[in-house]
């Protein structure tokens, strides 16, 4: 079923202290879809994304995974079953972080095998074989035994992408995967992501790379002040936005 919703968030709100930073966001991610989220700094993109794998707990809202209710907030916070549900969800929803989040005490290979071995229960031999194949896909097979500290930023992010892929996830969430990189390394990471997209992976990508969004996204979501300002195909958003603010935000981005 190509249109089957994989992740669905309804009425998401998130409050930190007294500030409400996400104020009623609905997002549906369907199988194979690439959703790019754009928006100015502080608009709530990261918070929204982190609520999709429950790294951040929503203040209110409902989250569905394959049509099944994962959680409804507000609820008994921090309850044991909520923690278990979140953990189970994250087996299927991987994440790539802005600052890579690689484990410094492990080699690139062990970073990639950690999840499969300890979460999926795969045996080490098989996990290592698959990890090597994934590292080859991101062009880093010869760096398998290196520690993250010895890799460049672009290489680290590619390892992080391989690590996310190793879980065989239903969706991968990306939070500004290229924002912490030197400009000359942005391309190598984006091209891996494009390749992943064309292989049919379902992806939600927070990014400031408008060019990337323009030709990889199936849908672009523009956020501001904790709400979705506008949402549509790249053509809708970039060529004929209905909101003046959208145009201004995108123009600011292209110039930046």
């Amino acid at each position: 079923m190509p249109d089957e919703p994989i992740l669905e968030m309804r009425g998401l709100r998130k409050t930190f202290g007294r500030a409400e930073v996400v104020c009623g966001v609905d997002i549906v991610v369907r199988r194979g879809e690439k959703v790019c989220m754009l928006g100015p700094s502080g608009s709530g993109k990261t918070t929204t994304l982190r609520c999709l794998n429950l790294l951040t707990e929503p203040s209110s809202g409902e989250l569905y995974f394959h049509g099944q209710l994962v959680g409804r907030w507000p609820s008994g916070r921090g309850s044991r079953s909520a923690a278990n549900d979140a953990q189970r969800l994250r087996r299927h929803v991987s994440m790539v972080f802005q600052h890579f989040g690689l484990f410094p005490h492990l080699t690139a290979l062990d970073n990639v095998t950690l999840g499969p071995v300890h979460v999926l229960g795969m045996n080490r031999r098989e996990a290592a074989e698959r990890a090597r194949a994934l590292l080859r896909r991101v062009g880093l097979e010869q760096f398998a035994e290196k520690h993250p500290a010895t890799l460049s930023g672009g290489q680290r992010q590619r390892v992080a992408i391989a690590r996310a892929m190793a879980m065989n996830p239903d969706v991968i969430l990306f939070d500004e995967p290229t924002s912490a990189l030197d400009p000359e390394m942005v391309g190598e990471v984006l091209s891996i992501m494009e390749q992943l997209a064309s292989d049919g992976m379902t992806m939600v990508i927070v990014t400031h790379e408008t060019n990337f969004a323009r030709h990889v996204a199936d849908r672009v979501v523009v956020m501001e002040n904790g709400v979705i300002l506008e949402e549509g195909t790249p053509v809708d958003i970039f060529e004929r936005p209905t909101q003046r603010r959208t145009r201004e935000i995108l123009r600011a981005r292209v110039q930046a």
Binding site: N53, L55, A83, Q87, R88, R90, R91, S94, M95, F97, H99, G101, L102, F103, P104, H105, L114, G115, H118, V119, H147, A149, R163, M167
Partner: protein, 219 residues
Amino acid sequence: MLSLTNANPLTILQLLLAGGEVTLEVSIGSWLVSVIAGLLFLAFRQAPYRPVRWAADFVITCLRSMPQLVLLYLVFFGLGGIGININPIVSAIVALGLTEAGFTSEVYRAGLLTVSDEQREAGASLGLGSFQIFRLIVLPEMVPFLVPPLLNSFVGLTKAATIASAVGVPEILYQSTTIINETFQVLLVSMLVIVLYVIFTVPLTRLSAALELRLGYAH
């Protein structure tokens, strides 16, 4: 006891080495107590129940502010007074170990802080549970940070172990005092004790530095 009236340096050395062995026993024992009790203290200090945390903080503060000798007397004579007789070596191990554990739990706490939340989140995002995150990510990342202070604490304990002489444990200081009382060789005995300590602790501090380098993968 050997007659020491015309003792030669070799006999003195042998006696001191026997004492050194006991010192080592006390310091290894109390170090192990501190490493384990420190973990328990840390767990109590982070317990979800406030009264438990308060109790743990209170106990740790008391332990850290009390002279070790007082605690040793408390353990040895105090427990003896209520009919629980434990041997002097064990009481020294317990008293020194518990005092040190207050410090060790601080080391653990600081160690936990060196591992960023981003690391824990990266683990969580893979579907690891909280204990797996601790075992596979937090613990191995904080070990390089823990090694030097824990080794130093061991070196400190080899010196603190001398207070065990107060309850009659025949450790190195006790032996020296006995020898000095019988031979009046204050200078010789002191020099030998110093040399023994230096020979023993210098490699340990070196080891600590070397391990720190080897285990410090971060940058």
